[in-house]
Symmetry: D3
Subunit: 296 residues, 6 copies
């Protein structure tokens, strides 16, 4: 159902845990992707794009070889496969939060292993065999057995492994299995990657850049909100100084003489500190509103 | 539980596949409808309205006879039942997307039937018997048996039917059953219909018109977004010319001299083309924000 | 996992029916709370706060005794437990709507009991034994047996109880069991409560006040929307008079001479009446947009 | 996928509420039917049978016309469609219990309609239009409007209908909608039906008779259990007289002299009365065991 | 819907975790109970019995007062409520297994509390306040605060409680919360209880005794299986000696001369040891079959 | 939680698609295994066994190395990993049916690839890289690229692969993706495997043999049923000749003179042919009953 053509972009979308978050992200960027439970070829409301759902682990390889023009996958799997692809941009988003994920070295709470050097002669279970071996080599540790783990890695120690290398967001699943983290091998986020040849085709390059810009605009807007407030002329300068310099605020006269409306964009994270300060500076009618996209 | 009164509007809501989309639409229009799994009489936050959930197939008949003052149903079923009702407005919304649905004539991929004329002496299964018979008459085809299908129409060919007339959005269920579409009998969208007598009652007529206006305002806003951007005086004219003429943009001075904020409403579909162009014309701080309603 | 410290706030969140609505409310206020199905200690994106999920029934007691610095619970359970806590603010929100809940006295449809006095010698089943006994005392009714009901209170009459005291939002579950309401004992909404000692600690007091302000700002915004409209100079005064006085509207010149944009905040409830009036006064391009927070 | 051949039987299975019960019944008869959620052509472990899932409403017509050789459907739909088919046997089984279903005439609890004659000039909603009209004719009632109901028939009265004709097992759904039953139009059970021509083909006729025999053997066994008990020679006659005459009991000597084991088949319904009686007659080691099939 | 009559038995069934296991148990005893999700009055296939679903906690009280003639509840709640009822029989069955549940005293893994005496001055959270207080009194411990816990008792320590008294089957939920068990207050199983007056009515007493006998026969059969084996005359005595003495085995001649069939009932638990032994003693054709009921 | 000891058996159970079928199989063999959703260490009702859930892919390696004493996995994965383990017995059971699974070579319906030789220069996607390479070597095909597929292998052709090697039961998923099977690489069933050293330990060897015998007895019984019938003396010989020779039938006198009961075990598959024949030979009261285990 896919066909390599000069006037069509083939886009790989990550199947699995990021699936819903990815379609939500594209939707906000203006691309409606519909995934049917019966097909791995989602439809997209842009006739110049064909999509396919693929596991993040195999995305980079297919992009490198040109079966896909571009795709989304994790930095970890780009590294693990060593694929030669162009990284168009980083996209920090996830199933739940907005935190990067980490591949960590973890051992039982009561293990004697304290650092990489202690792994000599031990056995590690992991889904990321290459990354683990590179880590051991970099730390000059030899005689370590690294087993590919087909799943449930965090329950393998202590019987089936002395240590594991596993991906984690908050560490809570490791703690629940009475494991402790002793090192971080790799911090990983999602990347939008492209085939190098595809970027030499002007049509494809332009399309890839546009998608990247819009996805970034959406993520950029997610931590931001609009803020509108009413101030009297006498307080205007004080308040303008207080507002974060993210955007220059709009100043508009109100229907009531001597009053102005300020309209600006701020980090959502500072709102809970900023609003009380604005109230102290006599701002009234403080309104926060949501944004869809923000292009710097 | 329903009672015909001059000072109360009885509104029929479509039960089934459009149920959730309909209550979401009304919610955005300001009407909160709560459907209990135990009752077909939803509550609505307007004491002047009584609601009932009914199948789309029987809505038009009950509106024609005045048991309902107004209701939502498909154009197809208005036609199928031949009910004499007033069509207040068209509302293009659906379970997933915003595309009209189509009733199509479909046959097995390897069938010899290529057009209506080839149906002579054949057997058609369909839920829309009337529509199918009118189509055959219009095409001057006789000797066709039309069976009412109680469900699963798309698996009836080739054993139980030579062709089917079935509703489809994307055609994917037909393709999965190895059927091909050879003609379209009817394109259908949702309609807000009213009883003709009810429209002679000023209270009911006003209420029906108001609901129609608000529902249209919501659907109108759905494909639109607000856009705010900052421009320098020198670029103002170029950018104003570029902006689609949907609404006249607001121009407001920024706190920094020589800069202006533009605020306008555009089609969401053009945003992904428009933003790159605006950036080239030196616009900065481009922010897109969502709308609830838009009344032209 | 919790520890009483002077520089950390311990916050109790209501487990159960209000759980999802509460995290949604905090999210809008800028606090991301993640509840894992495996733990009653949610994470929150503020390192100065520790949270715990507890049943609303036991919240007030734990706040009174200082195991929690603050928490959310119903007015009914504060009363029922008689806990000595500070009520920081009322927060009217619920699982579905925005209506207060009521504890009512209900009896079978065909019961002879018409008022509190008729309860003499009868038997009441309820989850709120204290509230029921205070009600009986206030009505000077004696010789009533009040049974604690472990659940399914509304099916107890007539065999297991003559009357019940039960919480209800719409009364529909009572009606379905053929019970009628004969009195209301208590109308209840959610309260944000704090330990009195904690409020003497300046760090905790400031934090509690800030959370209260932000939660109220979110609820405040929920029934409101932003409204933008374009008007000609000649209609400006008429329209300004028509707009509700909730906020002073912003008046900004449009790019087209003689036209102005008005921007204001109104109650969502009046929008469905207001928009038709504004259209009659020649307003064009009426746009409604959503708000996140509103601080008066 | 189906093909009419002399050496293959085409069997129609009822899709919907009886689906799971039907495959369970066939499984006990030795036919493993696997239904995939993606296909209406179940597989069956008999290469001489092809199956298809179809709605009970259309089964009889397709059997009459020979598209199916045989199938299972309700007596009601055979009557309603007037199809000319051979009824091979009655199979009393259902979604839950083993009771026949009834089509009843029901009216609001407070309706004045007491019998068929009172329907004059009224309006009836029903899914079984033909059955209702035949009932009215048989009762010599004219001027009744009979509307085909597309669903939720039991909530139609009093506003959308004065009475309904609806199928019910226990009447509880009718009672919940405050309707009362005033007459029964038809008592219905499942029937195994066959095409008349197919029964002239010896291969098909033999196969149909065998399926019927095995299905009946399963249903026959369902209300029965095996009973084993130990008795002393002196009590043998008394106990043999007490045992129901369903089957002649087996009498076998025990390893202990003077003792015998009795083995028999009895109605499960009598077991709860029979066992206490057997104990009084000195039976020991009474064991009840399950049966799969019972061929009289 | 319930009514006290001399010729009808009112039976209380435990709502909640034991619900499905209870109806399965009654079904095997010959009583088909159908529970509708909309009603707490299940139907039962015995016109002389009316049932109601009630929480185990309130069963004993309602039986004591005669609102129920009999019911099933836990030994723990009979003790906790101190209800004066007749215990007809013990029924050891549960949601999963066949093990009694235990109410235990548990403390954090690293707590200093080692026994009841260490609870002096501490705080206990529990759903079983009465049982806990009686335990403390019996151990002569004073100055302990016992809080009624509304749920999630096992996460209360160490912040909200120093110790808990909680029900457990395997202790796994306690271990997952890093608690250790230091004492057992009560071992509890299900009991079939009856009102003392009801047992003076011959009709009710007989019915209650019969239900008890049949329920016990089902539970009795659950851990047992039937065993059939073929032996030659020469091995008969050896094998008869080996067979457990639960029942006297039946000895029947086979169609082949010199061979006998043995038929007996054994504990399922010994089958996995017994079968290899029987094979060594030359038994052939060893068949195990299931039982429904076993009356000793 | 696992510990290698001489008096304890460590048993690996396959996690995933066979999980439920495996615990059902062990339950029938007398071993109750309880799997908690929170733990991969199920409990088993034999204190001499410890269990762990592991993916079938890694079972053989862990058994080979002695971390597990024994376990259940597929023949395919034993081959794929080349693990040196003892195969105790074959156990033919599955998620749904009782058919072996096959690893097949499949290509698009319209592909030119007809046999292994045509794969030269092509690309294969598969989860079983080793098996595929061995197959290619055996067929003397070179220059084939074999990609490890992380999932959804059947949608890879034609764009991401020219052919696939995939596991299938009925081929329906392949057909739905318009692929055709052109060769079978391996037919696979479940095997109960053991570590070679463990089999030298008499305790472990005996336990492993016993488990194997019981599991086989259960599977052996699954396709069989017991059959009881009554015959008159004159028909006895005819009927005994007709009965399949699986087991020698038991012949017992009935209470009625001149009648005998026959009791035997037959293949369920022949019952639907056998019963009609028995009836023709005057057998009456034919009863079929279920078996739990059958040891030949």
């Amino acid at each position: 159902m896919l066909e390599n053509r000069d006037d069509k972009l083939i886009l790989g979308l990550p199947k699995g845990s990021l699936e819903a978050a990815t379609t939500a992200l594209f939707a906000k960027a203006g691309y409606k992707i519909e995934i049917s439970s019966r097909s791995l070829y989602p439809t997209i409301n842009d006739p110049e794009i064909d999509c396919m759902l693929l596991r993040a682990q195999e995305m980079a390889m297919f992009v490198e070889e040109g079966m896909l023009d571009c795709g989304l996958t994790g930095f970890d799997w780009i590294q693990e496969t060593g694929a030669d692809v162009e990284e168009v941009c980083e996209l920090v988003y996830g199933k739940v939060g907005r935190n990067p994920l980490r591949w960590v070295l973890a051992v039982p709470e009561d293990s004697d292993i304290k650092c990489a050097a202690d792994l000599e002669g031990k056995r590690i279970a992991t889904e990321a065999v290459g990354m683990t071996k590179r880590y051991l080599a970099a730390n000059n540790v030899k005689n370590v057995r690294v087993d590919f783990s087909w799943g449930a890695t965090e329950v393998k120690p202590p019987h089936f492994a002395d240590a594991i290398v596993e991906i984690t967001e908050t560490g809570s699943s490791l703690r629940a299995n009475r494991l402790k983290i002793i090192d971080t091998l790799c911090t990983t986020t999602t990347r939008f990657i492209a085939n190098k040849k595809a970027l030499e085709n002007p049509f494809k390059a332009a399309k890839i850049r546009r998608i990247a810009m819009l996805l970034k605009a959406v993520l950029n807007a997610e931590g931001k909100v609009g803020l509108m407030l009413n101030v009297q002329e006498k307080d205007l300068d004080n308040i303008l100084q207080k507002l974060p310099a993210l955007q220059r605020p709009t100043v508009s006269p109100l229907s009531e003489k001597g009053w102005f409306a300020l309209n600006t964009i701020v980090d959502e994270a500072v709102v809970r500190e900023l609003i009380p300060q604005l109230k102290e500076l006599n701002a009234t009618g403080i309104v926060e509103f949501p944004l869809n996209k923000l292009v710097d």
